[in-house]
Amino acid sequence: MLSNFIFLIITVLAVGLFIWQIKKIRRNIKLGREKKINNNASERLNKLLLVAFGQQKMFKRPWPAILHGVVYVGFVVINIELLEIITDGIFGTHRVLGFLGPVYSALMAINEILAFLVIIACVIFLIRRNITKVPRLTRGPEMRAWSKLDANVILITEIVLMLALFAFNIADLKLAAISNEELAGSFPISNWLVNGLNTFNVSALEAVRSVGWWFHILGIFAFLNYLPSSKHFHIIMAFPNVYYSKLEPKGKFTTNESITHEIKAMLDPSYLVPTLPEGVEPQKFGAKDVEDLTWKQLLDAYTCTECGRCTDVCPANFTGKLLSPRKIIMDTRDRMEEKGEHPAIFRPNHYKEQGEPRVKVTEEKTLLRGYVTPEELWACTTCNACVEACPVNIDQLSSIMEMRRFLVLEESAAPTALNAMFTNIENNGAPWAFSPSDRLNWADNLFVNVK
């Protein structure tokens, strides 16, 4: 049949386009520095189950967690039906899984109830974004027109997809009733709405059924290919990102090994700096641009949901400083796509092309200064609140620290007060200007003997 053939072509094209986009994103992420992260697979899997599948960190805020949970479960479960839709589409069958009997009925019933709840959740989300304007979702220089539009596009698409699903089910039910057939499956919500189509004749019903069906599946293909340009990419990226996230205590910052070798060679001239394997560059001191960050830090950037939970708890941000950890992550993604490739046909993430940037960046074509200003970086207290808050285990602080390192080590551009602190440590072994010989003065007048 012609329509089956068309469907097959569309499916192949949609999947192919998606793979093409994923390859581009892969190349972008590979711009990053190599870093081996493969230890402790079982602990990582455990985290994956809890944080990514289990949405553990969402529950810090119960209401959004419940609503998001509905959309998430709805997404996963309804997509089981996708198997059936694709099979039906290619082979011209009708509800091919219907032979599952009661299992199929249960599946359809759950689908309908979830689809209904998804619509409600999406409506509430739209209200939160556009009417009550929850601050973390709407404010901040990084929340540009595209980010806001993106969120709305996704929510409306989901509602439309669910409506298409209902249209298909209702028309199908009605047609079955007219021809006195038993339709496989159980449809609590469509059953309830079925009389809405009472005035439709058979051909109209058939039209509704096929439009609903095509709309649903084409919508899903479009959604799939829209993902890589959207914050909604997190529905895929959250899994690898959580898997590869840091297992050590949050207070442990990375050690730069090239510096260790340099110091050791300085202290001991006979020290042999290990030679690096062919093609591996020695690690720079800090990060100026995306290729100085690790691939994991770039993966972070593609995982960000732009939810603003990090910025919302950032002490620097809510006391009016310029720093917003979400902006650091979004800047990283934007710069990566400027430098590397943009995955989609359109270029949504290039904010330099979207009017005046709202922080004082320079014309430099680098992440540091071209996107992120030193003022933002110096406002960070390294408190880890952002890292703790992020539902998809992004490590905003590590990227901030790498850029700070570059400012200090490569450009000697630390604030004056911090340079004074460095000098104190060098000269007195303490960050303050005290004489090292006073280090034991606290023990004076104490009954302890100096040991």
């Binding site: 510096i259 050791k264 809510f318 310029l322 720093l323 207290t381 034991l440």
Partner: protein, 257 residues
């Protein structure tokens, strides 16, 4: 430490005093209070004295990895030279740095923060807080240090220590994993804040004052300074005091000189 070594003795633990513990006038009281507790329980301890130097934490958080590693490698040489196995410190920054960041540079020790240590002493019955009466009915709120709490997951130990005081322990709106920074971390202690509309320590102090507590307990020298400044800024220094948990235990034990 050098003296002990000369006598051929080895201490059970090394008390890492830290720069604030050694130099900050207010915080020296905490060092003394903690040492009194150590003496009281009769543990064999030592300090490095003049051989101690900054762990390098402020340099590292400020981005000066080079200076950090210089400090770390020098300290590790001293510590390994004395064959140190176990280190105790009252400063969460020293704690975090030595525990988490020294191993990859060759310094492997068992590192304990004084809150955990005090909790152990209390659990073992070595500190009984006989004079706990002094705190009866007093309202105390505990401020989580970022480098103790989120950075290393220690939330309960300091609270359990405070619980022995028989005081009325109240929590601030943001506490434990959601705790709010005092504003000093990440080397902010040594610089002016970036332009904004409020200082972080004022925000945190307001939250602490809102609990109605008359004692704000902390377990970090920088938090202690930031919150004391905040309380002064609010002209509450006569009604509200900021103490380290070691000071509170020492005074409950009547160990204060």
């Amino acid at each position: 430490m050098a003296d002990l070594m000369a006598k051929g003795e080895e201490p059970e633990i090394l008390f890492w005093v830290g720069c604030a513990g050694a130099f900050d006038d207010r915080y020296k009281n905490v060092t003394r209070a903690f040492v009194r507790i150590l003496e009281h329980v009769g543990i064999k301890y030592a300090v490095l004295g003049l051989e101690e130097s900054c762990t390098g934490d402020p340099a590292k958080r400020a981005g000066n990895e080079f200076l950090f590693q210089m400090q770390a490698l020098t300290n590790i040489e001293v510590l390994n030279g004395y064959n140190i196995k176990k280190i105790i410190t009252a400063c969460p920054h020293c704690f975090n740095t030595i525990k988490n960041e020294y191993p990859s540079l060759g310094g492997n020790y068992e590192v304990i923060h004084h809150s955990t240590f005090l909790q152990q002493l209390i659990n073992e019955g070595k500190v009984r807080v006989a004079g706990g009466e002094a705190f009866k009915g007093k309202r105390i709120t505990f401020h989580d240090s970022c480098y103790l709490g989120r950075a290393n997951g220690i939330y309960e130990a300091p609270r359990e220590v405070l619980a022995t005081l028989d005081a009325d322990l109240v929590e601030m709106k943001r506490s434990r994993a959601n705790g709010l920074c005092c504003g000093a971390g990440g080397a902010q202690m040594w610089k002016e804040p970036e332009p904004g509309n409020k200082d972080i320590n004022i925000e945190r102090t307001e939250e602490a004052l809102a609990t109605g507590a008359t004692v704000i307990a902390s377990a970090c020298p920088f938090c202690l300074t930031m919150l004391s400044d905040g309380v002064k800024n609010k002209n509450q220094e006569d009604q509200v005091k900021v103490f380290d948990i070691a000071e509170l235990i020492a005074s409950a034990e009547n160990l204060n000189a």
